[in-house]
Structures are given as C-alpha cells and as structure tokens.
C-alpha cells in the first residue's frame, strides 16, 4: 500500500489571490521514497505541503489525502504528526528561550543531540546551548530545523525548499540530510525550484498550473522542468505520466 496518496486535490482561496491554486492534483509516494517536487515560484508547492500537513486554513475543496490508505483530511496538524507526517517550513520560525538541545529533544528526550547536529554540519559544542531565536542566521536556523525533523523518525518528512533563502545550504548539506532520512526509513517529499536538487531523489514530479504535469525519473523530469514548457502551456503541451 502506498504511504501517501493525494487524489484529485482542488484548493481554492476564497476571493483572495488568484483563486484556484491546486486543480485536481494527484500524487503517490511509497514508503521510504525520496520524491522531489519541482515547480517555479508561486506554482503551489508550499500550498500542497500545508494541505498534507493540515495547516489552519488549508482544507481541500475537492479530493482526499490518504496516509497508508486511511483518510487524514479531518485530522489536525499534531494528529497527522503523530501518525508520522512532519514538515519544515521554507522560513523556519524563531523561538525565544528554547535552546537547540531542548528543541531537538521536544518529543524525544533521549535523542543523541550531538549526532543530529553533526549530520546537519553544526558543531555540537557550539550549537547545543545556543537559542533557537533571532540570534541564529537563516542558514543555521534551517539546519537546526532539519536536525529536529531527523530526530522524529517520521514516515514522511516534507522539506519545503531546504535549499532556498538568503543563506544557501549546499547540495551536499541536503544530500546528507536525505541520506539520514533514508537511514531512518523516512520518505521525503523534497520541495524545490532547482532541478539539480531534484536529481538526489528516487522520483520527481513537476507542478504547474495546479497539477502534476510530469512525474517519474528525476533526470527526465528535471529535463522537462528545465525546458520550461509549462510556464506558458496551461497544461496543454504537458502530458501526464
């Protein structure tokens, strides 16, 4: 049975923005699969992440989301998290008065904090006692968020553009995190707008005009994405795979 099935999802904003953001989107992921979701800015990648996670205000107008065959549409974020879904936001939020060590052991007091920090390229001696507040740079904060996701051993980790932002994480950093997820047996939905990042994945899908317009081998999907057909085609030239 598939880990995640997103079936014919439609998401609309009521009167705000451009209206229909996702328009019959379908996507399937297997257990432990690393799946890259490619799309240019504003195509609805983060919207899909929020819908899968169950964020406030993100309920599909049509369609359903299944985790291991069971609908999760009625569940709140923490209930989905407890079933094994988690995510990192594109711009992780800051917390006052919470140390990195405390943050990484929120749900799992016995976790090996030093090993997690090593995995994301941060020196444990320096970062354990730092605060997860505004004193961290954007890149440092992102690394800590990735470490916290690794501590959860989730069935599905949604990483929303871990490679974007002012402080770029290198492709190598992302590869390390993905490898750690693989070791944990976690599937990853790797959201990105850079085709070279998609090549790390087992499979890839391209999002355009509210749908998955191309899906399969990452090399092929990256080629398709690079050709930028879908920017103008309104889905006419793109063929569903």
């Amino acid at each position: 049975m598939a880990l995640l099935s997103v079936n014919d999802l439609v998401f609309e904003t009521n009167g705000k923005g451009r209206g229909r953001i996702l328009d019959g989107l379908s996507l399937t992921m297997e257990h432990a699969e690393v799946h890259a979701l490619l799309g240019t800015n504003g195509t609805g990648k983060s919207t899909l992440a929020y819908l899968i996670m169950g964020c406030e205000g993100y309920r599909p107008a049509v369609g359903e989301i299944l985790l291991e065959g069971a609908s999760i549409g009625h569940l709140r974020i923490h209930e989905r998290a407890r079933l094994g879904i988690t995510m990192t936001w594109q711009e992780p939020v800051r917390f006052e008065g919470i140390s990195v060590a405390d943050y990484l052991s929120l749900r799992n007091p016995g976790v090996d904090i030093d090993a997690l920090l090593d995995l994301v390229g941060l020196n444990p001696a320096i970062y354990r006692s730092r605060m997860v507040d505004r004193s961290l740079s954007g890149g440092e904060r992102k690394r800590i968020e990735l470490a916290s996701i690794l501590s959860l051993h989730s069935k599905l980790a949604i990483l929303d553009e871990p490679d974007s932002g002012i402080d770029l994480l290198s492709t190598k950093d992302i590869v390390n995190v993905i490898e750690a997820c693989r070791k944990n047996g976690s599937a990853v939905l790797l959201i990105t707008h850079r085709e070279e990042i998609a090549l790390i994945a087992d499979r890839a899908s391209q999002l355009c005009n509210g749908r998955i317009v191309c899906s399969g081998n990452p090399i092929r999907v990256a080629e398709h994405y690079k050709s930028r057909h879908c920017m103008t085609c309104n889905g006419v030239e793109c063929h569903y795979v």
Binding site: A81, F95, I98
Partner: protein, 311 residues
C-alpha cells in the same frame, strides 16, 4: 521547625540556593515580616540592617574596588497569611566595585499580604551591579507587591536587573523602576511575569540615558491567562550624543486576559537613538504549527512557547 528553617525551605522551593545561607564565603540577609532571622557579611561588604515597625531597613555598601566573588543572597518573606512588610534599602557600589545580588521574595501562604519595597541604588564610576529578583506569591493571589527602585549609574558603570514571577499567582504587582545612566554606562532591565486568575500586573520602567554613549535596554515578557490584566510602560529617553536605547515588550494573551503596552521613547539630543518594539497577542500561529508538526498537542505547544518567552 523554626521560622528560619521554614523560610529556608520556602526559599529553596522558590529556586533559592539554601546552601549559600550557611556558606561562610557568601553574604546573606534573611528576614521574615519585620524580623531579621539571619545575616552574614563578607570582606568589603558593609550591611547595616535594622528591624523597623513595619519591616526592614538596610544600608548596603560594596567598598571601592571590591569585586565580590560570590553572590549576595537576600531573602525577604512573610510566612503568615496576612501582614505588611516594608523594605527600605539603600545600596551603594563604590568606584570599581562589582557585586551580584540574588533576591527571593516569598509569600507562600499569603491571602492578604502587602510587600512594599523602596530602594535606591547608586553605582559609582566603573562599578557593576547585577540584581536578580525572584518572587513566589503562593496559590491564592492574595499579595500586593509594590517595588519602587531608583538607580543611578556612574561613568562606565553597569546595572543589570532581572525580575521573575512565573510560578504561582501574582496578585497585584506594581513595579516602578527608574534608572539614570551616565557616560558610557550600560543598563538592562528585564521582567518576566506570568499572570493567572484575576492577577493585575502593572510595570513601569524608565531608563534615562543621560550621559554620552549611554546604553539601555528594557525587555519585558508577560504571559497572562484567565481574567488577568497587564499594563507595561517602557520609557526610554535619549538625552546625550551617542546614547542608544531599546524597548522590547512582548505580551502573550490567553482566554479573557487583557494586555496593554505603552512604549514611550523620547530623544532630546540629535545624536541619540531610541527604538522600540511591542508585540501583544495570542501565541504566534507559525510557532504553534511548527511545534504541532513535531507532534506536540496545541496545549503542549502553548506551554513550550510561553515557558520559553518567560525564561
């Protein structure tokens, strides 16, 4: 149990270091109501403490150039359900002196207690004082605490204060602090309070940046729930060239609680710069969602955020 033993036990419960009270290398003053139960001084520190009809009066001096190696512990409390305690303190740090005071004010059984503090602190040139004050007012909300403090900080002096009341009820709290900072002086005032029930929190902190390049920070962290109310007034005046001040107030509001923040920034010298930020509202949605995506329930998430903000 003697009154001192009882006060010591409460002191320890409130986070105090009870061992320090029996340590010959650490100075302390412990008083319950208007009785001094125990005191010790160390080389370079003069303490003249007296019992008055309503409380305690103390004159404290850290002599010129003396840097006290261990914190000075102050423990003021009232173990009865009702009563008045008036603390009058005059503290002086002479030139180049340095001291760290840790005060605990404990009223574990208070149903109708008033605690009034009137303190003046003079920090001479190049001297440094840290003053941490932790309160525990018990579970009934029957305490009225009115601390008034006036501090002057000399050239290149430093004054840091930290007020914490985050366990148990608050009752009524009316803080009124004023710090005047001289040339190159640095001052930081931090207050953290968690109000419940019908607690009423009023905090007024004023920093006057009087000398050239003086620096000041007022940081307030309040969480209130149930029917509690809070009003925080942070005033900073930049009155000299190079003076830099900042007022940073955050209030997290739950249930029917009502919060107000009044940042007042005033500049009397074009070379001074004072900024402020105030955030009042319920717990940040993105912070909530992030913690919930880690599997915390909404209640657990609020708890982690509020505790962090008050830390």
């Amino acid at each position: 149990m003697s009154e001192l033993e009882e006060l010591t036990a409460c002191f320890e419960n409130a986070g105090g270091n009870a061992g320090a009270l029996s340590d010959a290398a650490s100075a302390h003053l412990a008083a319950s109501g208007h009785r001094i139960l125990s005191s010790r001084t160390v080389e370079g520190l003069d303490v003249d403490a007296r019992e008055t009809s309503e409380g305690i009066s103390a004159v404290v001096t850290v002599r010129r150039g003396v840097k006290l190696p261990n914190p000075v512990h102050l423990c003021f409390g009232m173990l009865h359900a009702e009563g008045l305690q008036r603390i009058e303190m005059q503290v002086a740090l002479e030139e180049g002196a340095a001291a760290h005071f840790i005060a605990h004010c404990i009223f574990p059984k208070a149903e109708k207690v008033r605690h009034i503090m009137d303190a003046s602190v003079r920090i001479a040139d190049n001297a440094e004082m840290r003053y941490e004050e932790t309160h525990y007012h018990g579970p009934y909300g029957g305490v009225e605490v009115v601390p008034k403090l006036a501090v002057t900080v000399g050239r290149n002096g430093r004054y840091f204060t930290d007020f914490t009341l985050t366990t148990g009820r608050v009752g009524t709290l009316a803080i009124d602090y004023t710090v005047e900072a001289g040339e190159d002086a640095v001052t930081e005032l931090t207050a953290r309070v968690f109000g419940h029930g019908k607690d009423d929190i009023r905090i007024r902190e004023r920093v006057l940046l009087a000398g050239k390049n003086a620096r000041g920070l007022i940081k307030t962290r309040i969480a209130i729930e149930d029917d509690a109310t809070a009003e925080v007034t942070g005033i900073t005046e930049g009155n000299a060239a190079g003076a830099r001040g900042h007022v940073d107030c955050m209030e997290i509001v739950k249930d029917r609680a009502v919060a107000r923040a009044v940042p007042i920034v005033e500049v009397h010298d074009p070379g001074a710069k004072v900024t402020h930020e105030a955030a009042i509202g319920s717990v940040d949605k993105r912070q909530m969602e992030t913690l919930m995506a880690h599997g915390l329930s909404p209640e657990e998430a609020v708890d982690v955020i509020v505790k962090g903000a008050l830390r």
